[in-house]
C-alpha cells in the first residue's frame, strides 16, 4: 500500500513534467542556443552539451579515484584508526550539502587555483560531491567478491595486484557500475554546485576545459529567477528543460543497466 503511494507520487511527478514540458519540445528547442531576451526564440543545445561535458569531467575525476580508494580500503588497508577515519571522512563528505561543496569549489578551484568559472571547476566540484559514492560502491563491491576467487588466483602464482586486476575487479564491476550510476544521477541533476563554479546565462558551447559552460539545472534556475520573461513562458521552458534532463538521466541509467546486464550475463552464463 505504502509502496503503491510512492509509485503514484513518482508517476504523477513524471506525468506532470511530461505534459507541461512536451509543449515546448521541438527541434529548435533541442538544437538552438538560448535567447534569454525572448525564450521562445531560443533552445537549450549548449546546456545539453554542457551537462554532458560536466558529467564527463566529473566522472573522469571521481571514478578512477573512487575505484583506487575502494581497492585500497577493501584490499590493502588493515583495520586501524587510519582506515576508520578515512571511512568516517568519506561518510562525512557524503553528508556535506551541495551548496557548501559549491562554495568550496568557488574558493578553491575558481579563485585559488585560478581555473575561473569553467567546465574544469564545475566538473571537479561535482567530482568532489560524488566521490563518496564511487568510493563506497567500489569498496562494497570489492568486498563482496568471494574469497575463494582470490585464493584460486593466488594459488596459481598470481601476485596480489594481478589478482585484484584480473579477478576481483572483473567480478566487482557490476556493483561498481551501479555506484557510479548513482553518482552520475546526482551530478547531472545538481544545480547549486554548478551555479557557484561555472556558467550562468551561457549561450555557447564550450571549446576548452577553461570555458564557461551551461548546464540544464542552471538553465532551469535562471529561467525561473533571473531571466525577464512572463511567468507562464518561463515555467513552460523550465518544464521543457526538466523533461530533457529527466530523459538524459533515464538514458544514462538504461545504458548503465544494459552494460551491467550484458556483462553479468557473459560472466555468469545465467539465461536471464
Amino acid at each position: 500500500m505504502v509502496a503503491l503511494i510512492s509509485v503514484v507520487v513518482l508517476f504523477a511527478v513524471v506525468a506532470y513534467i511530461f505534459l507541461n514540458g512536451m509543449q515546448v519540445i521541438s527541434l529548435n528547442f533541442l538544437l538552438k542556443s538560448p535567447n534569454y531576451a525572448a525564450l521562445d526564440k531560443g533552445g537549450i543545445f549548449p546546456q545539453i552539451i554542457g551537462s554532458l561535458c560536466l558529467l564527463a569531467v566529473c566522472l573522469l575525476f571521481a571514478v578512477p579515484l573512487g575505484i583506487a580508494s575502494g581497492i585500497y580500503l577493501a584490499e590493502y588497508a588493515t583495520e586501524n584508526i587510519i582506515t576508520k577515519s578515512v571511512r568516517f571522512f568519506v561518510e562525512c563528505l557524503a553528508g556535506i550539502p551541495s551548496i557548501v561543496i559549491g562554495l568550496f569549489g568557488l574558493i578553491f578551484l575558481v579563485y585559488y587555483l585560478g581555473f575561473g568559472p569553467s567546465m574544469l571547476s564545475g566538473g571537479l566540484a561535482l567530482g568532489f560531491m560524488i566521490l563518496p559514492w564511487t568510493v563506497r560502491a567500489s569498496e562494497e563491491a570489492i568486498k563482496t567478491v568471494p574469497h575463494s576467487y582470490r585464493e584460486a588466483s593466488l594459488a596459481l602464482g598470481a601476485s596480489k595486484w594481478q589478482t585484484i586486476r584480473s579477478v576481483v575487479l572483473k567480478s566487482a564491476y557490476p556493483g561498481i557500475i551501479t555506484g557510479i550510476l548513482l553518482g552520475a544521477g546526482k551530478a547531472i541533476g545538481e544545480a547549486a554546485v554548478i551555479l557557484l563554479t561555472t556558467g550562468g546565462l551561457v549561450t555557447y558551447i564550450p571549446h576548452s576545459l577553461l570555458d564557461d559552460v551551461g548546464a540544464l539545472p542552471v538553465y532551469i534556475y535562471m529561467v525561473l529567477t533571473v531571466v525577464p520573461a512572463s511567468r507562464a513562458v518561463a515555467e513552460s521552458y523550465a518544464f521543457g528543460a526538466s523533461l530533457v534532463l529527466i530523459m538524459m538521466f533515464l538514458m544514462i541509467s538504461v545504458f548503465a543497466l544494459f552494460l551491467r546486464n550484458t556483462y553479468v550475463k557473459r560472466m555468469s552464463g545465467s539465461r536471464r
Binding site: L154, L156, G157, A158, M267, G269
Partner: protein, 250 residues
C-alpha cells in the same frame, strides 16, 4: 624419492594462541598419492596449506622446515610466486572464475606471460588431462559457471595443470560433489599421479583407502601415524588410528 619433506613443522594461528600443527615430520613421495585424514580441526588442511604457503594469507606463523626437492620453501630466497606455480591447488568448493571456460584455464599461463598460439595448445592439453575436453571443446567461450559442479571441479584441476606444476594439492575436492562426479575425480587422480606428486585432504576414509598410496593420520595438530595406505587401514600401529578408521570417533 621424497618430493616434499617437512621437519618439525609448527603452525600457530591467532597471534600464536592456537597451536594448529605440532612438530610434523613427514616425507611425501614423488608420483604417489598421499592422503591426509583425521577429524575436523585436526590440522590436515592447515598442513596442506603450509605446503604452498597459503597459510600466510591469514596471518599465520610457521616454524620449522618444508623442503621441496631439498630446498626450504620458507627460506627468504624462495619466491612465493614461483613456488605456487610449481604447486597447484584445488579447493573444497569448485571455484572457477566468473569467466569463460577458456579464460579460466588460460588465467594461469596468461599471468605468467604466455600469449596466443601456445596458449590454445596448453588449454587443450590441460582440459584433456583433466578429462573435461570432450565435454567442453565446442563451448570454450561459454561461462564456466554454467558447468555442473563436477565439471567445474575438473575445470579447476585443468586450471591448476595449465601452469605446469610438479605437485598438486587437493583440499577435500569431492566433498561438494555427487557420487558419480566423485568417482570421475578419483579415477582422474589415479591417472594424474603418473605425472604429478599428489597430496589430498579427505574426510572420507573410503576415498583415502581407494585412491591413496600413503596415508597420514592427524589428530589435534599432531601427526599420529604415517605409512602405506594398506598398512594404515589394515594394521594400524597406533590405537588412536585404529579407533578413528574403525569409526569409534571422528
Amino acid at each position: 624419492m621424497s618430493k616434499i619433506e617437512t621437519r618439525s613443522l609448527n603452525v600457530y594461528y591467532d597471534g600464536g594462541t592456537v597451536h594448529a600443527l605440532k612438530g610434523v615430520n613427514i616425507k611425501i613421495e614423488a608420483n604417489k598419492i598421499t592422503a591426509l585424514i583425521g577429524p575436523s580441526g585436526c590440522g590436515k588442511t592447515t598442513f596442506l596449506r603450509a605446503l604452498n604457503r597459503m597459510n600466510e594469507l591469514n596471518g599465520v606463523k610457521t616454524r620449522g622446515k618444508v623442503l621441496m626437492d631439498g630446498v626450504d620453501i620458507y627460506s627468504r630466497k624462495v619466491d612465493v610466486i614461483q613456488l605456487r606455480k610449481r604447486i597447484g591447488m584445488v579447493f573444497q568448493q569448485p571455484n572457477p572464475f566468473p569467466m569463460s571456460i577458456f579464460d579460466n584455464v588460460a588465467y594461469g599461463p596468461r599471468i605468467h606471460g604466455l600469449r596466443n598460439r601456445k596458449l590454445e595448445r596448453i588449454i587443450e592439453e590441460s582440459l584433456k588431462k583433466a578429462a573435461l575436453w570432450e565435454e567442453v571443446k565446442d563451448r570454450l567461450e561459454e561461462s564456466a559457471l554454467k558447468l555442473s559442479g563436477g565439471q567445474q571441479q575438473r575445470l579447476c584441476i585443468a586450471r591448476a595443470l595449465a601452469v605446469n606444476p610438479e605437485v598438486l594439492l587437493f583440499d577435500e575436492p569431492c566433498s561438494a560433489l555427487d557420487p558419480v562426479s566423485t568417482a570421475r575425480i578419483e579415477a582422474l587422480l589415479r591417472e594424474l599421479k603418473n605425472d604429478y606428486t599428489i597430496v589430498i585432504v579427505t574426510h572420507n576414509m573410503q576415498q583415502a583407502a581407494r585412491v591413496s598410496d600413503f596415508t597420514a593420520f592427524f589428530l589435534m595438530g599432531e601427526l599420529i601415524e604415517f605409512g602405506e595406505t594398506m598398512q594404515i587401514f589394515e594394521k594400524p600401529r597406533d590405537k588412536r588410528t585404529e579407533d578413528y578408521i574403525t569409526g569409534r570417533f571422528g
